[in-house]
């Protein structure tokens, strides 16, 4: 973990060598989800509510997933940009260093400009929270934090799976975007507005539902009994990372036996 922060620090200093580009990109990142959020806002302006969900409830849902996405893009960018590392042959370098490959790949790149996006989603979050009639307590606050953390881990897991694909093919990575961008777009809304199979897919296969929909029911007091189960859903979502790590290890082994 200490090493991870060292990587963070050296890459932050690298980024600061290019200040103008940093600020421009950060601003760009601030405004791009803004357009998406405006879409949500105008939709509710027109229809009032969505299957029993009010605007602020959906805004909370939106903010949580956007925060998770921007944090994961910032801190797990190494996996997201992994194809470059393999294509350039720099992955060999990581293999001759005495640390785990996953940690070194994480540390190979950070995308600090995603703070713009993070800031925007924090604003939405605060706006939604101040307008929701929720009786806050410590358990709910912790759950909210866990939701974001769980989302970050799920996105990281998807990046990892996509990165593992690079060991077999350098192209064809757009597939992963279906799950990252697609998953993000879907999970901006409460999952029960979709068809059953979509809900099942995003709960049990790629568990975005565990990171925002289910615990959100708890926070908004919409859960039907078993509150603890809803509360603990983010932990279940975080488990998604384990099979991803396993697949990653298989990928590394494949790379070392084929060298391609």
């Amino acid at each position: 973990m200490r090493l991870y922060f060292k990587y963070l620090s050296i890459l932050f200093r690298s980024q600061m060598q290019y200040r103008a580009s940093f600020w421009l990109l950060t601003c760009g990142q601030f405004f791009s989800p803004f357009v998406m959020f405006a879409g949500v806002y105008f939709m509710f302006e027109r229809f009032g509510q969505l299957r029993g969900w009010s605007f602020y409830e959906v805004a909370l849902c939106f903010a949580v997933i956007q925060m998770a996405f921007s944090l994961s893009e910032c801190f797990a960018r190494g996996f997201d940009a992994f194809s470059g590392l393999v294509a350039g042959g720099d992955f060999d370098r990581l293999l001759v260093r005495p640390r785990s490959t996953a940690l070194q790949v994480l540390g190979s790149k950070f995308e600090f400009t995603r703070f713009g996006r993070l800031l925007q989603s924090i604003i939405v979050l605060v706006w939604a929270l101040t307008n929701l009639p929720v009786a806050w307590n410590a358990a709910k606050a912790v759950t909210l934090v866990m939701m974001v953390a769980s989302g970050v881990l799920i996105f990281t897991g998807i990046y990892m799976l996509a990165a593992t694909l690079c060991f077999w093919t350098i192209q064809g990575l757009e597939v992963a975007n279906i799950f990252t961008d697609g998953g993000r777009e879907m999970a901006q809304y409460p999952l029960n507005i979709y068809q059953k199979w979509v809900t099942v897919f995003f709960t049990f296969i790629i568990p975005f539902g565990c990171a925002n929909y289910l615990p959100l029911l708890y926070i908004l007091d919409k859960a039907d009994g078993h509150e603890v189960m809803y509360m603990l859903a983010p932990f279940a979502g975080a488990l998604f990372l384990l099979p991803c790590l396993l697949v990653w290890q298989i990928g590394v082994r494949h790379y070392r036996s084929t060298g391609s």
Binding site: S14, D90, D92, R93, L95, V96, P98, S257
Partner: protein, 325 residues
Amino acid sequence: MIELRGIGKSFKVAKRSAGLTQALKALFVREHTVVEALHDITFQVKEGEIVGYIGPNGAGKSTTIKVMSGILVPDQGFCSIMGYTPWKQRTAYVHHIGVVFGQRSQLWWDVPVIDSFELLRDIYRIPAAAYKANCELLAETLDLRDLLHVPVRQLSLGQRMRCEIAASLLHGPRILFLDEPTIGLDAVSKIAVRQFIKTINKEKGVTVILTTHDMSDIEALADRILMIGGGTLLYDGTLGELRGKFGTQRTVTVDYRAHAQPLDVPEASLLSWSPERAVFSVDTENASIADVIARLSRQVELIDVAIETKPVEQLIVELYKEHDV
């Protein structure tokens, strides 16, 4: 210290054929050809040796280095380096080796060199005292003091290579793998890099394995040459032995005061002749250079004599030719 026995490795390479229909077909069915990159590679290296690993492009040099540094797992064979099997105990093993890929940087591009060094200290968990001592020693011998606070992107290639080598020695490895360390360097930098490799080999007893296409690297550094071609080890011996094998020919050029008659030297074959200069080729297996010169000095008044051996470059070309690679 290093032992390889019967190491073999083959790769599947996708066939690429020309034409649109073929390309479309390749989307679904891929034909593979199996390329044998390494075949039955066996050699040993003793502690403290400098070994030059040579061979034409695509001969299997990099693959061997990758196997020895634990990056690649071979299909068959035995390899033991300092008691480790490189690909099995990767993280424990790599503490003892340093690797420099001449064409790729291991330093962080936008920050001063010293920052990269400090990150490497944390990656290798080098104790503070050892790091300080090593860093100072390296800065001293490689003359890096003024470079440490410059961002890597502002360094010249020669300066960068010195920093690269220093970076791979910070953790005090016992073995150093250098993959084309002098590629693209100017003459001064090349000499500095070679000098340094020699120094750490002598003073710290670091075993060095280097691949190169520059035969003057081999001449300046290597006690021993391993040559690989087509995945097979073709030659293992010292430079002296190689000279002995192919290099018994000497070219003797003599300048003398104008002399009209042709010279008579039965021990040597005449390559060219003019009234002031003659060039002979002498095979030292059959005749001694001294005899040739003695005979010449009886016939003409010598002004200058130059004796040349075949350059190493030429020897290697002949070796390649002999093995048809």
